[in-house]
Symmetry: C2
Subunit: 281 residues, 2 copies
Protein backbone atom coordinates (compact mmCIF):
# COMPACT_ATOMS: atom_id res chain seq x y z
CA UNK A 1 0.00 0.00 0.00
CA UNK A 2 1.65 3.16 -1.25
CA UNK A 3 0.52 6.07 0.88
CA UNK A 4 2.92 8.91 0.13
CA UNK A 5 1.40 10.10 -3.14
CA UNK A 6 -1.18 12.57 -1.81
CA UNK A 7 -3.77 14.09 -4.16
CA UNK A 8 -3.96 17.83 -3.50
CA UNK A 9 -6.00 19.05 -6.48
CA UNK A 10 -9.81 19.15 -6.51
CA UNK A 11 -9.56 18.67 -10.28
CA UNK A 12 -7.96 15.24 -9.99
CA UNK A 13 -9.98 13.12 -12.45
CA UNK A 14 -10.61 10.23 -10.03
CA UNK A 15 -11.88 12.69 -7.43
CA UNK A 16 -14.04 14.55 -9.94
CA UNK A 17 -15.62 11.27 -11.06
CA UNK A 18 -16.24 10.20 -7.45
CA UNK A 19 -17.83 13.53 -6.47
CA UNK A 20 -20.37 13.10 -9.26
CA UNK A 21 -21.65 9.91 -7.58
CA UNK A 22 -23.40 12.06 -4.96
CA UNK A 23 -26.02 12.52 -7.69
CA UNK A 24 -28.39 9.86 -9.02
CA UNK A 25 -27.75 10.10 -12.79
CA UNK A 26 -24.01 9.53 -12.35
CA UNK A 27 -24.72 6.51 -10.11
CA UNK A 28 -27.14 5.05 -12.65
CA UNK A 29 -24.72 5.63 -15.53
CA UNK A 30 -21.68 4.16 -13.79
CA UNK A 31 -23.23 1.47 -11.58
CA UNK A 32 -21.23 2.79 -8.64
CA UNK A 33 -21.99 4.53 -5.37
CA UNK A 34 -20.22 6.21 -2.45
CA UNK A 35 -19.69 4.61 0.93
CA UNK A 36 -18.31 6.55 3.90
CA UNK A 37 -16.15 5.43 6.77
CA UNK A 38 -13.89 2.53 7.66
CA UNK A 39 -16.69 0.49 9.20
CA UNK A 40 -18.79 0.78 6.06
CA UNK A 41 -15.87 -0.38 3.92
CA UNK A 42 -15.18 -3.25 6.28
CA UNK A 43 -18.78 -4.47 6.06
CA UNK A 44 -18.77 -4.10 2.28
CA UNK A 45 -15.65 -6.26 2.03
CA UNK A 46 -17.10 -8.84 4.41
CA UNK A 47 -20.20 -9.05 2.21
CA UNK A 48 -18.12 -9.52 -0.94
CA UNK A 49 -18.97 -6.13 -2.43
CA UNK A 50 -16.47 -4.66 -4.90
CA UNK A 51 -14.73 -1.46 -3.79
CA UNK A 52 -13.24 0.16 -6.89
CA UNK A 53 -11.44 3.12 -5.36
CA UNK A 54 -10.80 4.06 -1.73
CA UNK A 55 -10.06 7.69 -0.89
CA UNK A 56 -8.56 8.30 2.54
CA UNK A 57 -6.84 11.13 4.39
CA UNK A 58 -3.21 10.48 5.38
CA UNK A 59 -4.21 9.96 9.04
CA UNK A 60 -7.03 7.54 8.25
CA UNK A 61 -4.89 5.65 5.74
CA UNK A 62 -2.28 5.24 8.47
CA UNK A 63 -4.82 4.17 11.11
CA UNK A 64 -6.51 1.62 8.81
CA UNK A 65 -3.54 0.14 6.92
CA UNK A 66 -4.87 -3.39 7.23
CA UNK A 67 -8.33 -2.54 5.96
CA UNK A 68 -6.82 -0.69 3.01
CA UNK A 69 -4.59 -3.66 2.22
CA UNK A 70 -7.68 -5.87 2.24
CA UNK A 71 -9.47 -3.44 -0.09
CA UNK A 72 -6.46 -3.43 -2.43
CA UNK A 73 -6.47 -7.20 -2.44
CA UNK A 74 -10.13 -7.08 -3.45
CA UNK A 75 -9.11 -4.95 -6.42
CA UNK A 76 -9.54 -1.40 -5.10
CA UNK A 77 -7.25 1.43 -6.12
CA UNK A 78 -6.09 3.42 -3.08
CA UNK A 79 -5.87 7.23 -3.23
CA UNK A 80 -4.65 9.39 -0.38
CA UNK A 81 -6.20 12.86 -0.45
CA UNK A 82 -5.95 15.97 1.71
CA UNK A 83 -8.42 16.40 4.59
CA UNK A 84 -10.09 19.25 2.71
CA UNK A 85 -10.63 17.20 -0.45
CA UNK A 86 -11.95 14.24 1.53
CA UNK A 87 -14.39 16.53 3.34
CA UNK A 88 -15.57 17.77 -0.05
CA UNK A 89 -16.30 14.21 -1.10
CA UNK A 90 -17.99 13.08 2.12
CA UNK A 91 -21.58 14.16 2.71
CA UNK A 92 -21.62 14.16 6.51
CA UNK A 93 -20.82 17.06 8.78
CA UNK A 94 -18.22 14.87 10.49
CA UNK A 95 -16.44 13.09 7.62
CA UNK A 96 -14.81 9.88 8.76
CA UNK A 97 -11.65 10.28 6.73
CA UNK A 98 -12.51 7.59 4.20
CA UNK A 99 -14.83 7.33 1.21
CA UNK A 100 -14.99 4.28 -1.04
CA UNK A 101 -16.41 4.04 -4.54
CA UNK A 102 -18.24 0.70 -4.61
CA UNK A 103 -19.93 -1.23 -7.40
CA UNK A 104 -23.72 -1.14 -7.12
CA UNK A 105 -25.24 -3.92 -4.99
CA UNK A 106 -28.92 -3.32 -5.71
CA UNK A 107 -30.53 -5.53 -8.32
CA UNK A 108 -33.23 -4.78 -10.84
CA UNK A 109 -36.15 -7.11 -11.29
CA UNK A 110 -35.52 -7.23 -15.01
CA UNK A 111 -32.14 -8.90 -14.62
CA UNK A 112 -34.10 -12.11 -14.28
CA UNK A 113 -37.17 -12.92 -16.31
CA UNK A 114 -39.74 -15.67 -16.59
CA UNK A 115 -40.28 -18.22 -13.84
CA UNK A 116 -36.88 -17.44 -12.32
CA UNK A 117 -37.66 -13.76 -11.92
CA UNK A 118 -36.64 -12.01 -8.70
CA UNK A 119 -33.81 -14.47 -8.20
CA UNK A 120 -32.52 -12.75 -5.05
CA UNK A 121 -35.47 -14.21 -3.12
CA UNK A 122 -35.21 -17.61 -1.47
CA UNK A 123 -37.57 -20.26 -2.92
CA UNK A 124 -40.11 -19.80 -0.12
CA UNK A 125 -39.74 -16.26 1.21
CA UNK A 126 -41.51 -15.39 4.47
CA UNK A 127 -41.29 -11.61 4.66
CA UNK A 128 -40.42 -9.03 2.03
CA UNK A 129 -40.56 -5.26 2.52
CA UNK A 130 -41.75 -3.12 -0.41
CA UNK A 131 -41.34 0.67 -0.59
CA UNK A 132 -43.63 2.38 -3.11
CA UNK A 133 -42.52 5.91 -4.03
CA UNK A 134 -40.67 6.64 -0.79
CA UNK A 135 -38.99 10.03 -1.16
CA UNK A 136 -36.77 10.56 1.88
CA UNK A 137 -33.38 8.80 1.66
CA UNK A 138 -32.97 8.74 5.46
CA UNK A 139 -36.34 6.99 5.80
CA UNK A 140 -35.50 4.47 3.09
CA UNK A 141 -32.15 3.60 4.68
CA UNK A 142 -33.72 3.31 8.13
CA UNK A 143 -36.42 0.95 6.81
CA UNK A 144 -33.74 -1.19 5.15
CA UNK A 145 -31.92 -1.37 8.50
CA UNK A 146 -35.14 -2.44 10.26
CA UNK A 147 -35.90 -5.01 7.53
CA UNK A 148 -32.44 -6.45 8.15
CA UNK A 149 -32.88 -6.44 11.94
CA UNK A 150 -36.17 -8.32 11.75
CA UNK A 151 -34.98 -10.85 9.19
CA UNK A 152 -36.76 -9.81 6.00
CA UNK A 153 -35.80 -11.94 2.99
CA UNK A 154 -35.46 -8.88 0.75
CA UNK A 155 -36.42 -5.25 0.33
CA UNK A 156 -37.80 -3.90 -2.94
CA UNK A 157 -38.45 -0.35 -4.11
CA UNK A 158 -40.66 0.66 -7.01
CA UNK A 159 -39.73 3.01 -9.84
CA UNK A 160 -39.91 6.59 -8.55
CA UNK A 161 -38.65 5.70 -5.09
CA UNK A 162 -35.53 7.30 -3.71
CA UNK A 163 -32.23 5.56 -4.56
CA UNK A 164 -31.02 3.34 -1.72
CA UNK A 165 -27.46 3.97 -2.88
CA UNK A 166 -27.70 7.75 -2.39
CA UNK A 167 -25.25 8.93 0.29
CA UNK A 168 -27.95 9.67 2.90
CA UNK A 169 -29.69 6.33 2.40
CA UNK A 170 -26.40 4.42 2.55
CA UNK A 171 -25.54 6.20 5.81
CA UNK A 172 -28.97 5.50 7.37
CA UNK A 173 -28.86 1.84 6.33
CA UNK A 174 -25.74 1.38 8.49
CA UNK A 175 -24.39 -1.60 6.54
CA UNK A 176 -27.73 -3.34 5.93
CA UNK A 177 -27.37 -2.59 2.21
CA UNK A 178 -24.88 -5.47 2.22
CA UNK A 179 -26.93 -7.86 4.36
CA UNK A 180 -30.04 -8.65 2.37
CA UNK A 181 -31.06 -8.59 -1.29
CA UNK A 182 -32.30 -5.18 -2.46
CA UNK A 183 -34.38 -4.93 -5.61
CA UNK A 184 -34.56 -1.35 -6.89
CA UNK A 185 -36.85 0.58 -9.21
CA UNK A 186 -39.25 -2.26 -10.05
CA UNK A 187 -42.41 -1.60 -12.05
CA UNK A 188 -45.23 -2.25 -9.55
CA UNK A 189 -47.40 -4.60 -11.68
CA UNK A 190 -44.46 -6.84 -12.43
CA UNK A 191 -43.17 -6.78 -8.85
CA UNK A 192 -46.65 -7.55 -7.50
CA UNK A 193 -46.98 -10.47 -9.91
CA UNK A 194 -43.64 -11.95 -8.94
CA UNK A 195 -44.34 -11.59 -5.20
CA UNK A 196 -47.74 -13.29 -5.62
CA UNK A 197 -46.15 -16.08 -7.69
CA UNK A 198 -43.78 -16.69 -4.78
CA UNK A 199 -46.75 -17.27 -2.49
CA UNK A 200 -46.67 -13.96 -0.65
CA UNK A 201 -49.77 -12.16 0.58
CA UNK A 202 -49.60 -8.45 -0.31
CA UNK A 203 -50.36 -6.42 2.82
CA UNK A 204 -50.34 -2.63 2.60
CA UNK A 205 -49.87 -0.17 5.46
CA UNK A 206 -52.49 2.57 5.57
CA UNK A 207 -53.25 4.73 8.63
CA UNK A 208 -56.90 4.93 7.55
CA UNK A 209 -57.49 1.19 7.05
CA UNK A 210 -60.39 -0.43 8.91
CA UNK A 211 -58.32 -3.43 10.07
CA UNK A 212 -55.40 -3.18 12.48
CA UNK A 213 -52.30 -5.28 11.91
CA UNK A 214 -53.65 -7.71 14.55
CA UNK A 215 -56.60 -8.44 12.23
CA UNK A 216 -54.70 -9.42 9.08
CA UNK A 217 -52.80 -12.71 8.58
CA UNK A 218 -49.27 -11.47 9.19
CA UNK A 219 -48.31 -15.00 10.28
CA UNK A 220 -48.51 -16.08 6.65
CA UNK A 221 -45.69 -15.38 4.19
CA UNK A 222 -46.23 -11.78 3.18
CA UNK A 223 -44.94 -8.69 1.45
CA UNK A 224 -45.36 -5.57 3.60
CA UNK A 225 -46.06 -2.64 1.28
CA UNK A 226 -45.44 0.95 2.42
CA UNK A 227 -46.28 4.11 0.47
CA UNK A 228 -44.95 7.64 0.13
CA UNK A 229 -44.46 9.75 3.29
CA UNK A 230 -47.01 12.37 2.23
CA UNK A 231 -49.32 10.59 -0.20
CA UNK A 232 -49.43 6.99 0.99
CA UNK A 233 -50.16 4.14 -1.41
CA UNK A 234 -51.40 4.99 -4.93
CA UNK A 235 -54.82 3.65 -6.00
CA UNK A 236 -53.26 1.31 -8.58
CA UNK A 237 -51.23 -0.39 -5.86
CA UNK A 238 -54.14 -0.56 -3.38
CA UNK A 239 -56.21 -2.41 -5.94
CA UNK A 240 -53.60 -5.18 -6.13
CA UNK A 241 -53.26 -5.77 -2.38
CA UNK A 242 -54.84 -8.61 -0.41
CA UNK A 243 -55.17 -6.56 2.78
CA UNK A 244 -54.80 -3.03 4.07
CA UNK A 245 -53.95 -2.57 7.72
CA UNK A 246 -53.08 0.20 10.14
CA UNK A 247 -51.06 0.24 13.32
CA UNK A 248 -53.19 0.60 16.43
CA UNK A 249 -52.80 4.14 17.73
CA UNK A 250 -53.85 5.11 21.18
CA UNK A 251 -52.64 8.70 21.38
CA UNK A 252 -53.16 11.83 19.37
CA UNK A 253 -50.37 11.77 16.80
CA UNK A 254 -51.87 11.78 13.35
CA UNK A 255 -49.44 9.17 12.16
CA UNK A 256 -46.04 7.73 12.88
CA UNK A 257 -42.96 8.70 10.96
CA UNK A 258 -42.73 6.28 8.00
CA UNK A 259 -39.57 4.54 9.18
CA UNK A 260 -40.98 4.09 12.70
CA UNK A 261 -44.21 2.64 11.28
CA UNK A 262 -42.23 0.26 9.06
CA UNK A 263 -40.14 -0.92 12.02
CA UNK A 264 -43.26 -1.71 14.06
CA UNK A 265 -44.89 -3.55 11.14
CA UNK A 266 -41.76 -5.61 10.42
CA UNK A 267 -41.43 -6.45 14.12
CA UNK A 268 -45.08 -7.48 14.44
CA UNK A 269 -44.87 -9.66 11.33
CA UNK A 270 -41.61 -11.38 12.32
CA UNK A 271 -42.97 -12.00 15.82
CA UNK A 272 -46.27 -13.47 14.61
CA UNK A 273 -44.53 -15.76 12.14
CA UNK A 274 -42.23 -17.06 14.88
CA UNK A 275 -45.05 -17.55 17.39
CA UNK A 276 -46.83 -19.71 14.82
CA UNK A 277 -43.76 -21.74 13.91
CA UNK A 278 -42.51 -22.01 17.50
CA UNK A 279 -39.56 -19.73 16.88
CA UNK A 280 -38.39 -21.72 13.83
CA UNK A 281 -38.38 -20.58 10.26
CA UNK B 1 -54.63 41.87 10.97
CA UNK B 2 -52.39 44.49 9.43
CA UNK B 3 -50.35 42.97 6.67
CA UNK B 4 -48.94 45.86 4.67
CA UNK B 5 -46.02 46.77 6.94
CA UNK B 6 -43.35 44.43 5.55
CA UNK B 7 -40.04 44.03 7.39
CA UNK B 8 -37.20 44.20 4.85
CA UNK B 9 -34.14 44.50 7.10
CA UNK B 10 -32.28 41.51 8.53
CA UNK B 11 -31.36 43.80 11.44
CA UNK B 12 -34.94 44.27 12.55
CA UNK B 13 -34.74 43.68 16.33
CA UNK B 14 -37.68 41.23 16.50
CA UNK B 15 -36.14 39.19 13.70
CA UNK B 16 -32.67 39.26 15.27
CA UNK B 17 -34.11 38.04 18.58
CA UNK B 18 -36.06 35.27 16.82
CA UNK B 19 -33.06 34.05 14.83
CA UNK B 20 -31.15 33.55 18.07
CA UNK B 21 -33.74 30.97 19.16
CA UNK B 22 -32.23 28.47 16.72
CA UNK B 23 -29.58 28.05 19.45
CA UNK B 24 -30.09 26.43 22.84
CA UNK B 25 -28.75 29.12 25.18
CA UNK B 26 -31.11 31.76 23.75
CA UNK B 27 -34.05 29.35 24.13
CA UNK B 28 -33.11 28.58 27.74
CA UNK B 29 -32.67 32.28 28.56
CA UNK B 30 -35.91 33.44 26.97
CA UNK B 31 -38.18 30.44 27.50
CA UNK B 32 -39.19 30.61 23.85
CA UNK B 33 -38.72 28.43 20.79
CA UNK B 34 -39.32 28.48 17.02
CA UNK B 35 -42.16 26.67 15.30
CA UNK B 36 -42.36 26.40 11.51
CA UNK B 37 -45.38 26.26 9.24
CA UNK B 38 -49.08 27.00 9.39
CA UNK B 39 -50.00 23.49 10.52
CA UNK B 40 -47.60 23.71 13.45
CA UNK B 41 -49.05 27.04 14.52
CA UNK B 42 -52.57 25.68 14.18
CA UNK B 43 -51.76 22.71 16.45
CA UNK B 44 -50.03 24.97 18.95
CA UNK B 45 -53.12 27.19 19.17
CA UNK B 46 -55.42 24.17 19.49
CA UNK B 47 -53.30 22.93 22.39
CA UNK B 48 -53.43 26.31 24.14
CA UNK B 49 -49.76 27.14 23.58
CA UNK B 50 -48.79 30.81 23.56
CA UNK B 51 -47.49 32.16 20.25
CA UNK B 52 -45.70 35.45 21.00
CA UNK B 53 -44.76 36.56 17.50
CA UNK B 54 -45.69 35.15 14.09
CA UNK B 55 -43.47 35.95 11.13
CA UNK B 56 -44.99 35.27 7.72
CA UNK B 57 -44.24 36.10 4.10
CA UNK B 58 -46.82 38.30 2.34
CA UNK B 59 -48.19 35.29 0.39
CA UNK B 60 -48.49 33.04 3.44
CA UNK B 61 -50.03 35.84 5.50
CA UNK B 62 -52.62 36.27 2.78
CA UNK B 63 -53.32 32.54 2.45
CA UNK B 64 -53.69 32.04 6.23
CA UNK B 65 -55.53 35.20 7.28
CA UNK B 66 -57.85 33.30 9.62
CA UNK B 67 -55.07 31.44 11.38
CA UNK B 68 -53.16 34.70 11.85
CA UNK B 69 -56.28 36.36 13.26
CA UNK B 70 -56.60 33.47 15.72
CA UNK B 71 -52.93 33.87 16.69
CA UNK B 72 -53.41 37.60 17.20
CA UNK B 73 -56.44 36.90 19.39
CA UNK B 74 -54.22 34.57 21.47
CA UNK B 75 -51.87 37.52 21.99
CA UNK B 76 -49.35 37.08 19.16
CA UNK B 77 -47.77 40.01 17.39
CA UNK B 78 -47.89 39.56 13.60
CA UNK B 79 -44.88 40.54 11.46
CA UNK B 80 -44.82 40.27 7.69
CA UNK B 81 -41.31 39.73 6.34
CA UNK B 82 -39.77 39.26 2.89
CA UNK B 83 -39.39 35.71 1.54
CA UNK B 84 -35.62 36.02 1.90
CA UNK B 85 -35.78 37.02 5.57
CA UNK B 86 -38.30 34.26 6.36
CA UNK B 87 -36.02 31.71 4.69
CA UNK B 88 -33.18 32.96 6.88
CA UNK B 89 -35.29 32.32 9.96
CA UNK B 90 -36.63 28.90 8.93
CA UNK B 91 -34.31 25.91 9.25
CA UNK B 92 -35.76 23.69 6.52
CA UNK B 93 -34.70 23.58 2.92
CA UNK B 94 -38.32 24.23 1.95
CA UNK B 95 -39.46 26.96 4.35
CA UNK B 96 -43.20 27.00 4.74
CA UNK B 97 -43.59 30.77 4.76
CA UNK B 98 -44.38 31.03 8.45
CA UNK B 99 -42.36 30.88 11.65
CA UNK B 100 -43.85 31.48 15.10
CA UNK B 101 -42.03 32.32 18.31
CA UNK B 102 -43.81 30.26 20.97
CA UNK B 103 -43.50 30.18 24.75
CA UNK B 104 -41.79 27.00 25.96
CA UNK B 105 -44.11 24.04 26.60
CA UNK B 106 -41.64 21.63 28.20
CA UNK B 107 -41.65 21.43 31.98
CA UNK B 108 -38.83 20.84 34.42
CA UNK B 109 -39.17 18.35 37.20
CA UNK B 110 -38.11 20.98 39.71
CA UNK B 111 -41.15 23.13 39.09
CA UNK B 112 -42.97 20.78 41.45
CA UNK B 113 -41.41 19.34 44.55
CA UNK B 114 -42.30 16.90 47.32
CA UNK B 115 -45.15 14.40 46.97
CA UNK B 116 -46.67 16.41 44.12
CA UNK B 117 -43.53 16.27 42.04
CA UNK B 118 -43.82 15.59 38.31
CA UNK B 119 -47.31 17.06 38.29
CA UNK B 120 -47.76 16.60 34.52
CA UNK B 121 -48.28 12.86 35.12
CA UNK B 122 -51.74 11.48 35.78
CA UNK B 123 -52.19 9.91 39.24
CA UNK B 124 -51.70 6.37 37.92
CA UNK B 125 -49.57 6.57 34.80
CA UNK B 126 -49.31 3.45 32.62
CA UNK B 127 -46.48 4.25 30.23
CA UNK B 128 -43.81 6.94 30.32
CA UNK B 129 -40.92 7.23 27.85
CA UNK B 130 -37.55 8.39 29.22
CA UNK B 131 -34.64 9.52 27.01
CA UNK B 132 -31.24 9.47 28.73
CA UNK B 133 -28.61 11.54 26.96
CA UNK B 134 -30.11 11.30 23.48
CA UNK B 135 -28.05 13.49 21.15
CA UNK B 136 -29.83 13.60 17.79
CA UNK B 137 -32.71 16.10 17.65
CA UNK B 138 -34.42 14.24 14.79
CA UNK B 139 -34.39 11.02 16.83
CA UNK B 140 -35.75 12.79 19.91
CA UNK B 141 -38.60 14.38 17.97
CA UNK B 142 -39.43 11.08 16.24
CA UNK B 143 -39.55 9.25 19.60
CA UNK B 144 -41.86 11.94 20.98
CA UNK B 145 -44.13 11.43 17.96
CA UNK B 146 -44.18 7.64 18.55
CA UNK B 147 -44.81 8.13 22.29
CA UNK B 148 -47.80 10.25 21.33
CA UNK B 149 -49.06 7.73 18.76
CA UNK B 150 -48.97 4.85 21.24
CA UNK B 151 -50.54 6.81 24.09
CA UNK B 152 -47.63 7.42 26.49
CA UNK B 153 -48.63 9.51 29.50
CA UNK B 154 -45.50 11.64 29.26
CA UNK B 155 -42.00 11.81 27.84
CA UNK B 156 -39.03 12.85 29.96
CA UNK B 157 -35.45 13.66 29.02
CA UNK B 158 -32.51 13.75 31.41
CA UNK B 159 -29.97 16.55 31.74
CA UNK B 160 -27.54 16.35 28.84
CA UNK B 161 -30.17 15.19 26.35
CA UNK B 162 -30.86 17.19 23.23
CA UNK B 163 -33.44 19.99 23.57
CA UNK B 164 -36.88 18.90 22.32
CA UNK B 165 -37.58 22.54 21.42
CA UNK B 166 -34.64 22.77 19.00
CA UNK B 167 -35.86 23.41 15.44
CA UNK B 168 -35.03 19.89 14.15
CA UNK B 169 -36.69 18.17 17.11
CA UNK B 170 -39.80 20.36 16.81
CA UNK B 171 -40.03 19.49 13.13
CA UNK B 172 -39.59 15.73 13.71
CA UNK B 173 -42.16 15.73 16.52
CA UNK B 174 -44.82 16.88 14.01
CA UNK B 175 -47.07 18.52 16.61
CA UNK B 176 -46.67 15.89 19.33
CA UNK B 177 -44.80 18.45 21.46
CA UNK B 178 -48.26 19.89 22.14
CA UNK B 179 -50.03 16.57 22.74
CA UNK B 180 -48.44 15.08 25.84
CA UNK B 181 -46.53 16.39 28.85
CA UNK B 182 -42.80 16.71 28.21
CA UNK B 183 -40.42 16.92 31.16
CA UNK B 184 -36.99 18.16 30.11
CA UNK B 185 -33.49 18.03 31.55
CA UNK B 186 -34.32 16.08 34.72
CA UNK B 187 -31.53 14.83 37.01
CA UNK B 188 -31.70 11.01 36.67
CA UNK B 189 -31.75 10.06 40.39
CA UNK B 190 -34.62 12.43 41.08
CA UNK B 191 -36.54 11.40 37.95
CA UNK B 192 -36.06 7.70 38.75
CA UNK B 193 -37.31 8.29 42.31
CA UNK B 194 -40.42 10.11 41.17
CA UNK B 195 -41.24 7.47 38.53
CA UNK B 196 -40.87 4.67 41.11
CA UNK B 197 -43.02 6.62 43.58
CA UNK B 198 -45.73 6.71 40.93
CA UNK B 199 -45.67 2.92 40.75
CA UNK B 200 -43.78 2.54 37.48
CA UNK B 201 -41.37 -0.30 36.77
CA UNK B 202 -38.17 1.06 35.21
CA UNK B 203 -37.41 -0.97 32.07
CA UNK B 204 -34.32 -0.11 30.06
CA UNK B 205 -33.67 -0.92 26.40
CA UNK B 206 -30.31 -2.56 25.74
CA UNK B 207 -29.41 -4.52 22.59
CA UNK B 208 -27.11 -6.77 24.68
CA UNK B 209 -29.65 -7.64 27.42
CA UNK B 210 -30.32 -11.32 28.12
CA UNK B 211 -34.10 -10.90 28.19
CA UNK B 212 -36.19 -9.92 25.19
CA UNK B 213 -39.10 -7.53 25.59
CA UNK B 214 -41.42 -10.57 25.61
CA UNK B 215 -39.73 -11.72 28.84
CA UNK B 216 -40.17 -8.58 30.96
CA UNK B 217 -43.49 -7.42 32.46
CA UNK B 218 -44.37 -4.71 29.94
CA UNK B 219 -48.04 -5.23 30.81
CA UNK B 220 -47.43 -3.51 34.16
CA UNK B 221 -47.23 0.28 34.42
CA UNK B 222 -43.72 1.11 33.30
CA UNK B 223 -41.20 3.71 32.29
CA UNK B 224 -39.35 2.73 29.10
CA UNK B 225 -35.80 4.05 29.37
CA UNK B 226 -33.66 4.57 26.25
CA UNK B 227 -30.00 5.60 26.18
CA UNK B 228 -27.69 7.53 23.90
CA UNK B 229 -27.43 6.52 20.21
CA UNK B 230 -23.75 5.57 20.47
CA UNK B 231 -23.16 4.80 24.14
CA UNK B 232 -26.46 3.34 25.37
CA UNK B 233 -27.47 3.61 29.02
CA UNK B 234 -24.86 4.81 31.56
CA UNK B 235 -23.93 2.46 34.41
CA UNK B 236 -25.52 4.74 37.00
CA UNK B 237 -28.86 4.46 35.21
CA UNK B 238 -28.61 0.70 34.65
CA UNK B 239 -28.13 0.18 38.38
CA UNK B 240 -31.48 1.83 39.09
CA UNK B 241 -33.53 -0.16 36.58
CA UNK B 242 -35.83 -3.09 37.40
CA UNK B 243 -35.26 -4.80 34.04
CA UNK B 244 -33.11 -4.57 30.94
CA UNK B 245 -34.55 -5.92 27.70
CA UNK B 246 -33.68 -6.10 24.04
CA UNK B 247 -35.81 -6.31 20.93
CA UNK B 248 -35.73 -9.72 19.29
CA UNK B 249 -33.58 -9.48 16.18
CA UNK B 250 -33.65 -12.14 13.54
CA UNK B 251 -31.44 -10.63 10.86
CA UNK B 252 -27.92 -9.31 10.72
CA UNK B 253 -28.29 -5.60 11.54
CA UNK B 254 -26.25 -4.82 14.62
CA UNK B 255 -29.01 -2.69 16.06
CA UNK B 256 -32.01 -0.67 15.04
CA UNK B 257 -31.93 3.09 14.68
CA UNK B 258 -32.83 4.53 18.11
CA UNK B 259 -36.14 6.04 17.04
CA UNK B 260 -37.20 2.81 15.30
CA UNK B 261 -36.32 0.78 18.40
CA UNK B 262 -38.27 3.19 20.60
CA UNK B 263 -41.32 2.93 18.34
CA UNK B 264 -41.28 -0.88 18.53
CA UNK B 265 -40.87 -0.85 22.31
CA UNK B 266 -43.68 1.68 22.80
CA UNK B 267 -45.94 -0.35 20.49
CA UNK B 268 -45.17 -3.63 22.25
CA UNK B 269 -45.81 -2.09 25.67
CA UNK B 270 -49.07 -0.39 24.68
CA UNK B 271 -50.29 -3.59 23.05
CA UNK B 272 -49.46 -5.82 26.02
CA UNK B 273 -51.13 -3.43 28.44
CA UNK B 274 -54.29 -3.41 26.35
CA UNK B 275 -54.35 -7.19 25.88
CA UNK B 276 -54.24 -7.52 29.68
CA UNK B 277 -56.94 -4.93 30.34
CA UNK B 278 -59.13 -6.03 27.43
CA UNK B 279 -58.46 -2.89 25.46
CA UNK B 280 -59.40 -0.59 28.36
CA UNK B 281 -57.12 1.67 30.28
Amino acid sequence: VKLDDVITSARNPALVAARKLARGPARARSGRFLLEGAQGLSEALAAGARPLTVFATPDTAQAHRELLAQAAEAGAELRVVTDRLLAGLAQTLAPQGLVAVVGSVVQTIDQADGPDALLPLPPSPRMVCVLVGISDPGNAGTVLRAADAFGADALATTAGSVDLESPKAVRASAGSLFHLPVIAGAAWPRLAGVLRDRGLLLIGADPHADATIDQVPLERPCALVLGNEAHGLPAQVRGDLHHLARLPQYGRAESLNLAAAAAVLLYACARRQRLVTGGQR
